[in-house]
Symmetry: C2
Subunit: 456 residues, 2 copies
């Protein structure tokens, strides 16, 4: 078997792998990118992109309903078929051809197939043997995790993949798990006509976010007709002969639906590529340092979901840039994710957050104080997100007078987040933020309200 | 005539005056706020607020048209009557009662009437004599300026006041001036059905912004049916017996309309309050230092439009805060406006900018480089502002590797500006901005594209 050599080999062509491979090639290296499914990864076909395609029309129509002069022009109900067709367009009907020119333009060699390590820096992909002169980057991502619930696998549940690509609107949808996937899919399918029941074992949705975010998203889903069962443990699942799914809860109650989405977390795809042959213990998230090297290795990197640092497309891409730069010999380190990665939940209202929650900052031993205002308590909200409930919070590190966390809850707050991301990442003192004047009449004046509330 | 004493007297209850008075009262001072028209000022009734009320429905419907799944639900044309009613609601039918509780809660004494200086720190308002123990703050704003065009006054033109509060949609509207007021009103009234012709003497609209912003706004207005005449000088105006307005252009052409809006700039209202009696030369913008003191005075301040530093509501409010803090004995200085104030033009596309344009930075002797990307060249733009043209630019100071200017052109970019305002104001090095990761899939990834384009 002839061996082909590259400077670097990237395994997994999701966003992290693509960005890393492209940047390595831009840096002058000869790069192979190995992909066994679709170039573009989970994000492009089964996560971020189709979910936003499903969510956006209803989100926009909710905004239209809030604006007199516009709302009079809306007629009828959302047509699910049109939305599903647009979703298919966004995911290119799961054809990755449109992703290839970007790689080709950079001279990245795409190798389709399953990669398996055969030793240090060496891999096989089908009948091909590959050797990396400098580095191998693992970017294999995650898959949906299944909790140990009796009968679950046999009940043929949906994962994020089926939930984002389904061709029909299920009449009744059960969702197990109130994290980001669970709440976004509850929002999307209920807006398209499903009767949705959401089951979460914790006592609130989005347990990692500020409590008010959990409450406001739950209230929004409730207004949309979603039935929310927090503090509820599923104990058994089954699919009957008529195709109906049952989910048994601790306590004896049984919920019924046409489909059951399991969204209780992810498992790293680190055990499918023969890492043992490279001398690395496989299974679990691959632990990396701030240069994204696995276990102190000089040649093995892991980026994106598979290292477990921050399961977010933009953070995977960030790590891809950092890893590429390090492989290219630059002195770099990933710092953003350790401060608390920026994140947006595209529900109605949205949750846009960065850094630590008040509770997390306290647990980290920081001397913090939170200031809260209503997201809509400014003139800009007369025009956008009008009258919609939602809270905005800054978490201030009192010792250094910098923001270590920010959470905005409200309609269409996603684009408001980057200001906070800059403030948290660059640790800008409050006194300097005070001179960054928000424009009137935009909703960014909530920054003014927050700083005034703090006492500036 | 009995004299009433206050710690501070603020003349003019527009946003700048209100904010200043409120902050002084919050700081423990006894404060009088004098207003001869409406509490809330030009902004609340004749500028920012009604203009956005007129613009928002059409802006939102333009976005709906870009989103498959939503656009199918729009029927018919915008109903101008509904939009005009909503505008009236936003300006409270020009009743300022809703503004009063905010002042009352702070214990600010509102005095209605025309203020005129009678000496240093002393004023008369009608039959009342007022004395300020500590400071007098002039916040009288600006009014529409009229160019010396033959017959203009007699032609009874609209100013911003009539243009924002008109009760009927003029069938044909002539607009003189292609600055912010001119382009926003062209956008608003053309979207409501007016046939609009916009006349600008300069060779482009929005002459202070980046050239691509001018071009893209002109193209957007053009798509909306606005006829734009740049490089055209008006020489004469008249109103005929039928009520029709004529505007004669240099070269002999004559334009006809039902109304004529004059929007060629502002004049400071500094000559109406007897400043001579306080020993200050009146007329023109009142020159102030960074503490907003007029001509080195220890007691006289001028904030907002009347000092000419930055004719923007948010900058007036900022100056109001700075002036109040200085009067309260704090060591403060206005710095934000000197870097180039943040500003948003609410056309379709919008222009959101802060700091210097490339040309202005060059004129200031900075060694700068501009990087440009398409505002829509990111995944977030699949969902918001889809397929809409627009450019985004950063102007980088190469000596200090900081951003000294940013301009975003595109639909609904207003909320994206604050990130740039923070970056410019706090002078954050590019290397730090690189670690502020924009969230996927939001349009804030244009930051990533811009920094990559720069070479990071």
């Amino acid at each position: 078997m002839a061996e082909r050599e590259f400077d670097a080999i990237v395994i997994g062509a999701g966003p992290a792998g693509e960005v890393c491979a492209g940047r390595l090639a831009d840096g002058g290296l000869e790069v192979a990118l190995v992909e066994q499914e679709l170039v573009g990864g989970e994000c492009s076909y089964y996560a971020c992109m189709p979910s936003k395609a499903l969510l956006r029309p209803a989100e926009l129509l909710a905004e239209v309903q809030r604006v007199p002069g516009a709302r009079e022009m809306i007629s009828g109900e959302l047509d699910p078929d049109v939305v599903l067709r647009r979703r298919d367009e966004v995911i290119h009907d799961r054809d990755d051809a449109s992703q290839l020119p970007w790689l080709e333009a950079r001279g990245v060699g795409l190798i389709r197939g399953h990669a398996s390590f055969s030793g240090e820096r060496t891999l096989t992909v089908g009948r091909e043997a590959l050797r990396a002169r400098r580095a191998v980057v693992v970017a294999t991502g995650t898959a949906a995790a299944f909790p140990p619930i009796e009968g679950l696998a046999e009940a043929r549940p949906w994962t994020n993949r089926e939930a984002t690509t389904a061709k029909r609107v299920p009449s009744r949808l059960l969702i197990l798990g109130g994290g980001v996937v669970g709440v976004e899919m509850a929002q999307a399918w209920s807006s398209l006509g499903s009767s949705v029941t959401l089951v979460e074992a914790e006592d609130r949705l989005l347990a990692g976010e500020e409590p008010f975010a959990s409450e406001q998203v739950a209230a929004g889903l409730g207004r949309g007709g979603v039935e929310i069962r927090t503090g509820a443990r599923a104990t058994a699942a089954s699919r009957g002969q008529g195709g109906q799914v049952s989910l048994g809860l601790d306590g004896g109650e049984e919920l019924r639906g046409d489909e059951l989405l399991v969204a209780v977390g992810r498992r790293p795809r680190s055990d499918e590529i023969g890492l043992e042959a490279a001398g690395v213990a496989a299974g679990g998230y691959l632990e990396v340092d701030d240069q994204l090297r696995v276990g102190g290795s000089q040649w093995l990197y892991a980026i994106g979901d598979v290292n477990g640092r921050a399961l977010l497309t933009h953070m995977g891409k960030y790590q891809g840039r950092i890893a590429a730069d390090h492989i290219l010999g630059r002195d770099v380190a990933a710092t953003c994710d350790k401060l608390g990665s920026p994140r947006v939940v595209f529900t109605e209202p949205q949750v846009a957050a960065v850094g630590r929650t008040l509770a997390a900052a306290g647990e980290d031993g920081l001397d913090v104080r939170a200031v809260d205002v209503e997201t809509a308590a400014n003139a800009g909200a007369s025009f956008v997100g009008r009258n919609a409930p939602g809270t905005s919070r800054l978490v201030v590190d009192e010792d250094h007078r910098v923001i270590v966390g920010a959470t905005f809850v409200g309609p269409e707050v996603a684009e408001s987040l980057h200001a906070a991301t800059i403030a948290v990442t660059a640790a800008i003192p409050l006194e300097q933020l005070w001179h960054a004047v928000p424009t009137f009449p935009t909703r960014s004046e909530l920054w003014l309200r927050l700083l005034e509330e703090y006492g500036l």
